[in-house]
């Protein structure tokens, strides 16, 4: 039996995490096929076929796949799943929304958000916001798995030439209608894949003060993150939230500014390679995971930090 990967894309390009999901799926079985469901998604299908780890691409197209509605996607994948032992996709909001719908239809108990493939049926996954790791073995004949993209390296993206087969679309699900998507466009690196992340918390005190975070991020070519407290307070939009119910990030450098470090926030960043915390409360839990902690008033320290960064003439991009 082989593995079916569900590709995430925007019809033209593959979303970056598809490459991480391919790596994870290939560790379950090297006979790896990928399905791409969309509308006029030939360009993205071609890119999928160029991934050397992918042995076959299945392309399914219809107008009602334009907006990635899970109710439309699930029946196609459930039908294709007849021929596969595993269905895999990323544990981001795309995969979280979609995979359980597939799993329930296949009468499979899904394994969510794995961080390691131990064998074809055994996986490691964090529970309790990453405060425990569970080793779990799926006993279902068909396995539905979502993978934590930041725990797997992206696969090679060129050199392959897998055949592309077309499959029949399924009927449209009429009870769900897409209305609109408000994507926040930015020239910055994406939060999920950035080398450096600079995050602000409730200590920023206002949305206006977040420009300090922006200045540091500009200097370091970093993505901007935030704690849930900062998002709840309206300082910054939800797509910046790092934590148990937000995004999980694993940058080379994570700078937490004015973030106390609730366990729910630590769940989203504590695997970062180097962690810096700037906080005036020396007892703040963020210091327990920080490689470098600076106990200081952020409104004094951050402008100084920006000045010091200005003095360095070799900022790595």
């Amino acid at each position: 039996m082989s593995v079916l990967l569900v590709a995430e894309h925007n019809h033209k390009e593959l979303k970056p995490f598809t490459l991480n999901a391919v790596t994870a799926a290939s560790q379950m079985d090297t006979d790896l096929h990928a399905v791409i469901i969309g509308n006029n998604c030939g360009d993205a299908a071609k890119k999928l076929s160029e991934l050397p780890l992918v042995k076959k691409v299945i392309q399914v197209e219809a107008a009602h796949y334009e907006n990635f509605v899970a109710e439309n996607f699930a029946p196609v994948i459930v039908k294709l799943a007849e021929n596969y032992s595993h269905v895999v996709c990323s544990a981001n909001t795309f995969g979280k929304n979609l995979m359980p719908r597939i799993a329930a239809s296949l009468d499979t108990s899904q394994v969510s958000d794995i961080i390691k493939v131990i064998s074809a049926d055994t996986f490691l996954r964090p529970i309790y916001a990453g405060n425990a790791f569970a080793t779990v073995k799926s006993k279902d004949p068909k396995k539905c798995i979502t993978i934590r993209p930041t725990s797997f390296d992206p696969c090679e993206s060129s050199g392959g030439s897998a055949p592309i087969e077309k499959a029949e679309p399924s009927k449209e699900f009429n009870n769900t209608k897409f209305v609109k998507r408000e994507e926040i466009k930015s020239d910055r690196p994406e939060l999920g894949t950035a080398r450096v992340v600079v995050s602000g918390g409730r200590g920023m005190q206002s949305g206006d003060n977040f420009k300090l975070i922006t200045s540091v991020a500009d200097k370091l070519n970093a993505a901007i993150g935030a704690s849930r407290a900062a998002v709840d307070a309206g300082y910054i939009s939800n797509d910046h939230q790092v934590g148990q119910t937000g995004k999980v990030v694993v940058p080379d450098l994570y700078i937490a500014i004015g973030i106390s470090g609730a366990i729910q926030h630590l769940a989203g960043m504590k695997e970062s390679k180097v962690i810096v915390a700037i906080n005036k409360d020396g007892e703040a839990p963020i210091f327990s995971v920080a490689d470098y902690g600076l106990e200081a008033d952020l409104f004094e320290a951050v402008p100084q930090f920006i000045e010091e960064l200005n003095k360095l003439n070799t900022i790595q991009k």
Binding site: R101, S109, D113, Y128, F173, T176, V196, N238, V274, Y292
Partner: protein
């Protein structure tokens, strides 16, 4: 309109959990338990819809051991009209829970089912979507805003890229995000009143659902600990360390 809200009893979100020494799970004895936080948002939203006159009844349902009754009782104290406890012991996977909830939906025929988007213990994020698949109903996951328009809901969803709005026909499932609303606290008079509200108890085994786990939990371990770091005295020292020691800038 009738709204069914599923609530789960979990270890309180403020508790630092401990892994059992025999690696079979986490310590739950003498640990503070609470309602799963986004389930509080689900109850709040249902009660608000009832207060606006659009819904006529809010039913809180929980699946789990006898003590999960406290979680149902708490939902009654903030405004749910009656409760249902489906009694089941041991590990219940989201697939089993969604099958049990399906039985309750078939019996109660609600127009809407609300629940939190994710439970903070197993972090699965599955039950709402699974129930929605089993019923072949529309689903609106990670909801941060819900507007009722006749027989439709317009729901704003928090997605990785920002916000998405969808329109779904009733009956439907909504899984709630933490920013959907501000859950209220139960007042003392309402806690007293909740004691008189009915909670129907049903044994999971009487619902004809096989709840045995499909996933074997081989072991539960502490995650690798991070090495303790250092405190720097000044911004200049911090920058020097980042540049010369960690070599990340």
């Amino acid at each position: 309109m009738k709204i069914l809200v599923a609530v789960k009893r979990v270890i309180d979100y403020n508790v630092q959990i401990r892994v059992k020494e025999d690696n079979t799970g986490v310590v739950t004895d003498n640990v503070k338990m609470s309602t799963n936080p986004p389930d509080d948002n689900a109850i709040e939203e249902a009660v608000k819809i009832k207060e606006s006159g659009t819904a006529t009844e809010v039913i809180a349902v929980s699946v789990g051991e006898e003590k999960a009754q406290e979680t149902v009782r708490k939902a009654l104290a903030v405004g749910a009209d009656r409760g249902i406890l489906i009694k089941a012991d041991g590990i219940l996977e989201p697939l089993a829970v969604s099958k049990l909830l399906q039985k309750i939906v078939e019996k109660e025929k609600p127009d809407l089912v609300f629940m939190g988007k994710q439970a903070i213990d197993d972090d699965c994020n599955q039950t709402g979507q699974m129930l929605s698949a089993l019923l072949n109903w529309p689903q609106a996951t990670f909801a941060s805003k819900i507007e009722i328009k006749d027989k439709k809901l317009e729901v704003t969803r928090e997605i990785d890229e920002g916000l998405e709005t969808i329109e779904i026909n009733i009956p439907a499932i909504v899984t709630c995000d933490l920013r959907l609303n501000e859950p209220r606290y139960a007042s003392l008079p309402n806690i007293m009143k909740a004691k008189k509200k009915p909670i129907e108890q049903i044994n999971a085994s009487d619902l004809g659902v096989d709840t045995s786990p499909r996933i074997e939990q081989i072991k539960v371990e502490e995650p690798p600990k991070r090495k303790a770091g250092i405190k720097v005295k000044s911004v200049a020292e911090l920058v020097q360390k980042l540049k010369n020691e960690a070599k990340v800038i």
